[in-house]
Each structure stands twice: as C-alpha cells, then as structure tokens.
Symmetry: C3
C-alpha cells in the first residue's frame, strides 16, 4: 500500500454554501494512479463540514440549508458570540454536528459513489471564506 | 499493510429501516484473515446512512426513527420533490446529516466495538430498496 | 505503510461532557514516529461521540450541549427506558446521530487541524463513565 496527501483549495460564499468536490477528489485519485483504496477527505477549520448528497438544486439550495437553519438557527444567541464578539455560533455547532471528515473508497480507479451521490463541502460560516480540504489517498497503484 | 474491498448486499423495507450489519463486517474481516487494521464501511447511494447503535428494539424501532422524523419530517414540502416528482426529500436530508461512512478498527481479528454497540445501515428511503455497502479492509494479516 | 493501534483512557462527568483529546492523539502520532498518514479515532461504546470543535467555553459548555438538548431532550420518554429501566435514551440517539468515529490526517508528523479546531470526545451518558478510545495510525514513518 502507498499513501499520498493532496489538497483542494476553495473560495466559498459562506452561509451554508454547498460545493460539489467529487470531480476534484476523483481527479486526485486518477492523477496519482491509484487503483484500489480510499480517499479520506478532511475539511480544515471548525465551521465547515463534509458529507454526500444528490447534488441537485432543490436539496442543495433549499432543503439541506433549511434543515441546518432549523436545527441551529442563525438568529439565536450563542455563548460563542460572547467569547469573540462574533456572529457564527450557529456555524460552529452545525459543523460539529455534521462532521468534517469522510473516507470514500475506490476500485478500478473510480470512487464508489452512487449515480446520484456527490461528495460536498459545506461552508457554514457567516461570510465568504478561503478553504483548504485535505484528500489523503491510501491504497494500491497500477 | 494489505487492502481488500468487499461488498454487503441488503434488501430493506425503507422508511428508516435500521439493519445490524456487524456480523457481516466481522465475517469479512475473519474470512480475509486480517489481524490488525480497519474496516471502512461506506453506503452507496444518497438516501442511506451508517452509524453505530445499541441494537435493541426500543432504540431501533422507536427512538432513533422518531429522532429523524422530528429533525426532518416526512410530511413537509421539500424542494427536491419539485425536481423529480418524488416524495423522499426527508430521506435525502436525513442521510446527508447522518453520513454514509464509518471506519471501524479491529485488533486480533475482532472489531473494536463495545458490547452494546452494533454497526448499522439505515435506509431512509420511502420504499423498499436493494442496497450495496462496501467494506474496505486495510491492515496486517496473519 | 505501517500501522499501530493505541488507546486513550478517559474519566468523564457524563451529561454531554466535551473533552479535548487533540494533544493525546498528537502525542501518539509523535511517539510512534509517523510522518504522513491518518489517525482513525473511534469511541468504544454506544453513548459517546467524536467530532471537532473550536474548544472554547462558550461552545463547549453552552452552545453544543444546548444543541443536543434541543435535538434529543433528556426529559422525554424513550422506548429504550422500557428495555433496561434506564434513563439514557437521549444519550443513545445523540451518539448515533453524531457518530463515534473520525479519521484525521497528518503530515510532517502534525495533525492537519485548523488553529481553532480540536478533536473532542463527547460523553452523552447520564452519569460519569470510564471510556476507552482507540487511535489507529496508518501511514509512513521516518
């Protein structure tokens, strides 16, 4: 088994911006020449998350943001705001709830995703951000 | 280190059906002769999830389904329904929230789970489904 | 690639006690002499979870516990209580929702975390507990 660590750089709008990173993860697998193994995707920072979703406008622009708005509303008071004079307490708790890491398998050099299943980074912060996501491959080449 | 990718095939009832897959994951570890390593479990598709739970009827048939019904009710309108004329918007957002992947360690050929901790696949879709779950082992044999 | 499995032992207060385990995970990476790879953190047991959070008092003592109290209140009835005469149904469903596993990458022997991002174990149980968390390293030494 061999290992390789690469990075994806993103500019986001913030505010539960959901970005499809599937092709970028797949490109790293392909370029590095791995055949069978896993891509461990990890979002660096405490207000972003990683999951999979069917990347269509209804879910991505409405339903999934609405879920997070309901679970942890932006407008409420968070004790975090007292610490930093910030407004992104909801961003932090959403990110902790979702989780910032996911390990996705591949065989024959292809990610083992369903047809309607995309890997996404979600930026929960309350402003546009530059983001760095690590993609660590472990597996067999050739 | 060596790697092996296997699959579990399931028929589910849908509707937040929670299925214990612990023994099937353990069997793959045992059959492949791995001693120390990890089993990365990944549910292919965008309306299923993976987690652990104490697999007893109260949690599995009542409490955990009720949690997801409360967080993302079936009966509400989801923009996803407009996209496909479908009724499973709640299934998609539940699956994205829970996540479809988990890496479980093992030593001495045994999964490192608590006595009351089972690995489960949850089918959030609104109808019975055939499912495929990948189980990728990475570790040391013998 | 090489592999090593270690353990962290914790005493918790229970009741959504959130414990920063970053330094302990980093110590294992450093002591074992790994340079590039991943640390797969897994909480053994069905009432604990693993995630990352900015470890500051507002989020850790107020906001994140309040989120879980809202999503799965302690005071409600859970069918799980009928099974064991127990009071921790809310603990179980919170743990299943959050998940008990996370794979964190490292390069140059350092975990790839943001400055304000710590790895935490959350004890959702309703009483103090002794806990065991496995930390499995896979990667390249030297």
């Amino acid at each position: 088994m061999e290992m390789k660590t690469e990075f994806i750089e993103l500019s986001t709008r913030g505010d539960t911006d959901i970005i499809d990173i599937t092709e970028r993860v797949q490109s790293i697998v392909s370029q590095e020449g791995f055949r069978e193994g896993s891509a461990s995707v990890f979002a660096i920072g405490s207000t972003g998350g990683i999951t999979t979703v069917e990347y269509e406008p209804g879910l991505v622009n409405s339903d999934l943001p609405r879920l997070f708005d309901t679970l942890a509303p932006y407008g409420e008071h968070y004790a975090h705001h007292n610490t930093w004079g910030d407004d992104n307490g909801s961003s932090h708790v959403r990110a902790s709830l979702l989780g910032c890491a996911m390990t996705v398998p591949f065989i024959d050099g292809k990610l083992l995703l369903g047809t309607w299943q995309q890997i996404v980074f979600i930026d929960f912060d309350t402003r546009p951000r530059k983001r760095r996501i690590s993609v660590q491959l472990a597996g067999i080449k050739g």
